[in-house]
């Protein structure tokens, strides 16, 4: 039997007994079989059982009152808890806790869509509601609203936004207008306008008065979120993407600046930038290397190749050296006018570039006419992401290296040079080959992020080497000013550690708050790199 650190077997057994009395025996789990559901199916520590983070037990409350009782019992026995909503955060730790031995508070049974308001375009959700369930709820009732679903439709708005995740509409925490949470002392708090008794503005005005403490709940451990106001998007009349490409290497910079300016002006809703020729040999999941030797030779040459050499190769292969894309939506007339504007905008800037409009998708969508791999991008969550990410026959899952960088060509080139050098210095040719050259996308309005999937293998030695490389990449990128926006359970300290300005003032401030509101250190110790005093390595 695994015990939480610092908890005696007697106390643990007493707590399990009390959980059983509070929730019922069928909602308290201690068998190895049951607890396998709370292991990270994609653990980076495969083959290293002493390092894998596992739970000691799990409990599944169904109401706020039951969550409060769980918290009270945990305080009584000083038992560490770890709350998870749908538990589908594959690539970032799944349902696994941050501290081995924690008791997982599985909120999947709290799966009510409490309210959907069509007039003000929001939903009040419990944490166990998944994206596909919410989408189904809307479609079943002919409600013309879309949910900003992540690629993995089995995840949900609450868990995704609480990990600063993104959906097809971008930053999901930006869509959170209010939170209800059980605090470490068992009290229930409502943030923002929800603090007004009988207030009407909770779903529509997020700040309330005074500090907006909603930001204390994502990637942190100051409460168990039991309800969330999540803004939805009115279904547009039309959605349409476009891309602009050029064979000229030096067009990349002006193109990135131009697409971002369209976004800053609010003319387009999403944007991204790629160099298809430099990325021709990438083989991350979902991509197939074109195995062009000259591409690898140029990328590995000093200064990663002269512009003239890339231009010549582009003409020889027909693969563009620069490409940007954007999406527009709204009334059909406005979409047409916006695309005309974008076309003219790029034609003036780069007359030789090629502008291509994508397929116009009119709502309500006839899903029978849309390839399933395009559903998520149109606001229709599904499990296709699972299907794409299912084991590729050679690996056992993946975890993400996901740095943020500026949405500017200089930063994209610099980040690629830095990462490639770290991979080459580590003598990891396969990792380097899969990386190839990465562009960026923009779920966040003013920065780019990329998702590089480190694959997990049966070979524990190989996995251990990759863990070291991951560590080196995070630290080296931080030296250049690029930090991760999200991290698997085992890397919370690593990533939080690079946010170390002024002698880690941010971490120390969070620890001070943690000790004040959670003196027994029961809620998700280590989440966000925030450790309560009892577990802190001073």
């Amino acid at each position: 039997m695994m015990l939480p650190p610092g908890v005696s077997e007697e106390a643990f057994r007493a707590a399990i007994h009390e959980f059983t009395a509070a929730l019922g025996a069928d909602q308290v789990f201690t068998s190895e079989d049951d607890l396998s559901l709370y292991r990270d199916a994609y653990t980076p520590y495969r083959g290293m059982p002493d390092k894998e983070i596992v739970a000691s037990a799990a409990v599944a409350p169904v109401s706020v009152e039951q969550v409060q009782r769980v918290v009270h019992i945990a305080n009584k026995h000083r038992l560490p808890l770890f709350a998870t909503s749908t538990g589908r955060n594959l690539g970032y730790g799944g349902a696994a806790p941050t501290l081995s031995g924690s008791v997982v508070v599985d909120l999947k049974r709290m799966n009510r869509v409490v309210e959907v308001n069509v007039t003000d375009c929001y939903a009040v959700l419990e944490p166990g509601v998944s994206f596909i369930e919410l989408s189904h709820y809307l479609r079943e009732r002919n409600i013309p609203l879309l949910v900003s679903a992540a690629e993995n439709g089995a995840g949900g708005p609450v868990g995704n936004s609480l990990d600063h995740g993104v959906g097809f509409l971008g930053d999901n925490f930006a869509r959170v207008c209010g939170i209800e949470a059980v605090l470490p002392n068992g009290e229930v708090i409502r943030t923002g306008s929800g603090a007004v008794s009988n207030g009407k503005l909770w779903p529509v005005y997020k700040y309330g008065f005074g500090p907006d403490v909603s930001g204390l709940f994502p990637q942190a451990n100051f409460g168990i979120v039991t309800k969330m106001i999540f803004w939805l998007e009115p279904e547009p009349e039309r959605m349409q993407g476009f891309s602009v490409s050029s064979s000229k290497h030096d067009d990349f910079g002006p193109m990135v600046d131009a697409i971002q300016m369209l976004r800053h002006k609010g003319i387009i809703r999403s944007s991204g930038a790629r160099n298809p020729l430099r990325a021709a040999n990438n083989s991350t999941v979902g991509m197939r290397s074109r195995n062009i030797p000259e591409v690898e030779r140029l990328l590995s040459s000093p200064g990663d190749g002269a512009a003239s050499a890339w231009d010549a190769l582009s003409i020889a292969t027909g693969i563009p050296n620069a490409s940007v894309n954007g999406t527009v939506w709204g009334p059909a007339k406005i979409v047409v006018a916006t695309l005309d504007h974008a076309r003219e905008h790029f034609a003036k800037l780069l007359p030789h570039a090629t502008f291509s409009a994508g397929t116009a998708r009119d709502f309500p969508l006839d899903l029978a006419t849309v390839p399933v791999d395009q559903w998520v991008g149109l606001g229709m969550p599904n499990l296709w992401g699972f299907q794409r990410l299912a084991n590729q026959g050679v690996n056992r899952g993946h975890y993400y290296f996901s740095p943020l960088f500026k949405a500017q060509a200089d930063d994209i080139f610099a980040m690629n040079r830095t990462v490639r050098k770290v991979m080459a210095d580590a003598n990891e040719p396969e990792i380097l080959k899969r990386w190839g050259w990465q562009g960026g996308g923009g779920p966040f309005p003013k920065t780019y992020v990329l998702y590089y999937d480190f694959l997990v293998y049966d070979d524990a030695g190989l996995n251990a080497r990759h863990l070291k490389l991951f560590d080196r990449l995070v630290k080296t990128c931080a030296e250049h000013g690029w930090a991760e926006y999200r991290a698997p359970a085992g890397f919370q300290d690593l990533v939080a550690g690079v946010y170390a300005n002024n002698n880690s003032a941010l971490r120390r401030f969070c620890e001070t708050m943690k000790d004040a509101v959670d003196p027994n250190g029961i809620l998700s110790p280590g989440r966000g790199g925030i450790w309560p005093r009892r577990y802190r390595k001073e």
């Binding site: 079989d33 559901l37 089995a154 399933v372 299907q387 084991n391 590729q392 050679v394």
Partner: protein, 181 residues
Amino acid sequence: MVTRRQVLQAAAGAGLIATAPHSIAQRNDSLPLHRVVFDGRHEPGVRFAAEAALWGAETSDTRGDIAALYVRELMTRWRKSAIAVAGLTPYSQLFGLRLMAETPRLRLVFLHELKSGDVYGPANVCRAPLSTDPAATARLLCGWPAHSATVARRESSILSAQDHPFTNDALVAWLMAPVSA
């Protein structure tokens, strides 16, 4: 749903028409089965479903999209109570459905790669001879003894299904059963 035409074609191909009635009730001790899932884009899937239909099982075609099937037919049923579901699909579709089945606490108790005939993971309790014949596999799953599901679930780990290197396109037959079966 499998069409009558598909059933007749598949049954004729398997030489079953002369011997099998149109509907064979499940055995009394067999695991209650909510539905048999197949991907009609693959011929073995159609044969599997046709045989299951002869055994009295409801069948559903994913047509390549497991999410739509989950939302349309499984989510609501599983919210009422956990009940077993069997299938023959590409592995990638099982991968997603298996995770959704965690919510009602179903376990993967049988996993069989059709091409190789190999049985993986927690299916060790299966004593019946296995073959690459989808119809034979359907007969096995439709008549799966309830007590075997209980034994299998003791040996089951959701993770164990990941211990085998399937490709996304590998056709696998599977059975997920509730913890309390």
